[in-house]
């Protein structure tokens, strides 16, 4: 069982962020870390491979400046190797372009399953995984809250608003996982020490067969022409309890039709 996990390396959400004025995109020139939401996919993949008793987990990532810090974190958790696509020509690539690049990188590996997070914690488009599936001509299942493999079929409990759907697809397939799917492990000390010698195959857009204009800002079908602050939340209503506090909260909730 070979599993590919798409992992994004993002600016540390705990650190102050800025936008690049010319493109209105997030400044990614500093140190990047593993997107927390990808740790779930990595953990799920490790557990599936472990259960299958053979195979390995390969990471695929696209990031500027040859960044490997986030990959090392996932390698320390137990992934075997990584493909990193890093190239100045990719600056400004939109979601579809990213999917094309990642799909091309995935094609370089032998895989039974591709896992990705539902959405990244910095971009939030949530579109890349299904685009990858389409580009690879594979079935895709989103919002997995549980993933099991049964022979050549993947079985997924797919989170819905009402509960979950039980869905299956033939392998190979692309599955996106939610944060509830598994609890990511901490990397062991040995894992951390071993991670630095695990192979990271760094490739360029040209290595994957793209030419100028296919990807990057030029190949991008979207332009962000303005970024506006989110609307400030209006102040809530403060209920001063004058003995009737509970009753007033109940009527408020009744007004909202929630009780």
């Amino acid at each position: 069982m070979n599993v590919v996990v798409c992992v994004k390396q993002i600016p540390d959400p705990a650190a102050p962020q800025s936008l690049e004025p010319s493109t209105n995109t997030l400044d990614r020139s500093g140190k990047l870390i593993l997107d927390d939401s990808d740790a779930y996919g990595v953990e799920m993949a490790l557990q599936l491979v472990d259960k299958a008793g053979s195979g390995e987990v390969t990471l695929v990532s696209m990031a500027p400046n040859g960044e490997v810090a986030g990959l090392r974190t996932a390698l320390a958790m137990g992934a075997a190797k990584a493909i990193l696509v890093s190239d100045d020509a990719l600056k400004g690539t939109d979601a579809l372009g990213t999917a094309k690049v990642l799909a091309a990188a995935i094609k370089r590996t032998e895989f039974d399953l591709v896992l990705a997070a539902t959405e990244s914690s910095d971009g939030y488009t949530g579109t890349v995984p299904v685009q990858i599936a389409e580009l690879l001509g594979l079935p895709s299942i989103t919002f997995a809250k549980s993933v099991t493999i049964d022979g050549s079929t993947v079985k997924v409990d797919r989170q819905t608003e009402a509960g979950y759907d039980e869905v299956t697809a033939p392998l190979p397939a692309v599955v996106t996982v939610t944060a509830g799917v598994v609890e990511p492990r901490y990397p062991s000390f040995k894992g951390i020490m071993a991670a630095k010698s695990k192979p990271v195959d760094q490739v360029t857009a040209a290595d994957l067969g793209f030419s100028a204009g296919d990807v990057g800002a030029a190949g991008s079908g979207q332009t962000i022409f303005a970024v506006a602050d989110a609307e400030a939340r209006s102040a809530g209503e403060i209920v001063v309890d004058e003995g009737d506090g509970a009753q007033r909260i109940v009527s408020f909730l009744e007004g909202l039709k929630v009780i």
Partner: protein, 408 residues
């Protein structure tokens, strides 16, 4: 070494998030409700594979012992073991120096003494479980009437009786004493000779919880370090065979100073550990102080803009840099296979302990009334840091060790 490597930082981040998830939410239980720290430590060992690494290094140590090799094992370049030991100490001490004390005494002092001086049988019988934290160890030298003068003034006696010894006496301030499964205990040989009791041979024994005549007290109430259980041990006619004599029976012409040497060797280990503990306390106090100084507004501006507050922050930073440099030097020496001298380790401990205590007290001052309130955390770190100047040899004892070396 002048900064942490990428691997060190990865270890630090992993431990830091473990501490945030497993220690911080339980801090009240550990500090104020008498919950012993052992389960948290075991969880950390399992989570990061430290138990597995301990088993592997136990195996190598046992093989060396059986092959009759003494001294430190040869180290490869870039050996990371010192950093891997010290980084968790630093990170845990940002919140809970008591946990580190319990862990360090169990593995470093009790476990370390058995691994170094024990026979292969003793290593297997007691050493392995201590190194993996499966069992809890105590290391007992201090007595009510002899602390700084522990070896000379020791009153606990081992009276030979046939093939056995009978132990009598008491020990105090013993970390993990209330819960220890295995106790490394120092006692004076009392063979009826007229020798000066101060100069008599010190013997090292390994005791088990529940032995007849051994009483382990309840935890003592303390100023700080409340997450580390500290207690008394009482021995009345505890009978021990040669299997419990560290190193077993030896040839009668052997050095009579082995017990003393065994105790002293530990001084170097624990003193280096205290420097790393101090660094954790200093880093945390400085970070908390910077945040507070920027956010507390008085006279229309953050207190960080008052020069007297800036002086406090600057002095904390000087302390942080100095202690960090001492820790880096220790890691560097250790990966080169070198051990500091007792005087060097004492200098390192003296400076670091004083720095941690001063920084933490200054943090309390900087926080004003909030500094005195538990919620703001610096009061706990200040109470905890004070013990760094007392245990593992008081400041005054470190000074005597440094001076003795300088004047020799």
């Amino acid at each position: 070494m002048f900064e942490w490597s990428d691997e060190h930082l990865a270890i630090r981040d992993a431990i830091r998030s473990f501490v945030d998830n497993e220690v911080v939410p339980n801090i009240d239980a550990l500090e104020h409700e008498g919950v012993p720290p052992y389960e948290v430590i075991r969880k950390m060992y399992r989570t990061f594979g430290m138990d597995e690494m301990a088993r592997e290094s136990f195996k190598r140590a046992l093989e060396r012992k059986i092959a009759g090799e003494t001294g430190r094992p040869e180290r490869r370049g870039g050996d990371n073991s010192a950093a891997m030991t010290l980084i968790p100490i630093i990170e845990l001490c940002r919140h809970c120096p008591g946990i580190v004390t319990s862990m360090g005494v169990s593995t470093g002092l009790a476990g370390g003494t058995i691994m170094k001086g024990g026979t292969p049988e003793q290593m297997e019988r007691w050493g392995l479980d201590l190194m993996t934290m499966d069992k809890i160890g105590a290391w007992a030298i201090t007595e009510p009437d002899s602390g700084s003068d522990a070896l000379g003034g020791m009153r606990t006696t081992a009276r030979p009786d046939g093939d056995e010894w009978i132990l009598n006496g008491s020990k105090t301030y013993i970390t993990n004493g209330p819960y220890a499964d295995t106790i490394v205990l120092y006692a004076k040989l009392d063979d009826g000779s007229e020798d000066d009791p101060r100069k008599r041979e010190v013997l090292t024994f390994v005791l088990d919880k529940g032995m007849e005549g051994l009483v382990q007290s309840a935890p003592m109430r303390k100023m700080g370090l409340k997450s580390s259980p500290t207690g008394e041990l009482f021995l009345s006619d505890v009978r021990v065979g040669v299997d419990r004599l560290l190193g077993g029976r030896k040839d009668p012409s052997r050095s009579k100073s082995e017990g003393r040497e065994s105790a002293k060797e530990n001084f170097v280990t624990e003193r280096a550990g205290v420097a790393a503990m101090s660094l954790g306390v200093i880093e945390e106090c400085l970070a908390l102080s910077i945040d507070y100084a920027k956010s507390r507004v008085l006279w229309g501006k953050p207190i960080a803009q008052h020069q007297l507050i800036q002086l406090k922050l600057a002095k904390m930073e000087v302390a942080r840099l100095n202690v960090q440099n001492l820790v880096f030097r220790h890691i560097e020496m250790s990966s080169a296979g070198k051990t500091p001298t007792l005087a060097e380790a004492s200098a390192m401990k003296l400076y670091s302990a004083q720095a941690a205590s001063e920084v933490a007290m200054e943090a309390v001052q900087l926080f004003g009334g909030n500094g005195y309130i538990a919620e703001y955390r610096v009061e706990q770190l200040a109470r905890d840091a004070k013990v760094f100047q007392i245990y593992a040899g008081t400041d005054e004892i470190q000074i005597t060790h440094i001076a003795r070396d300088l004047l020799a």
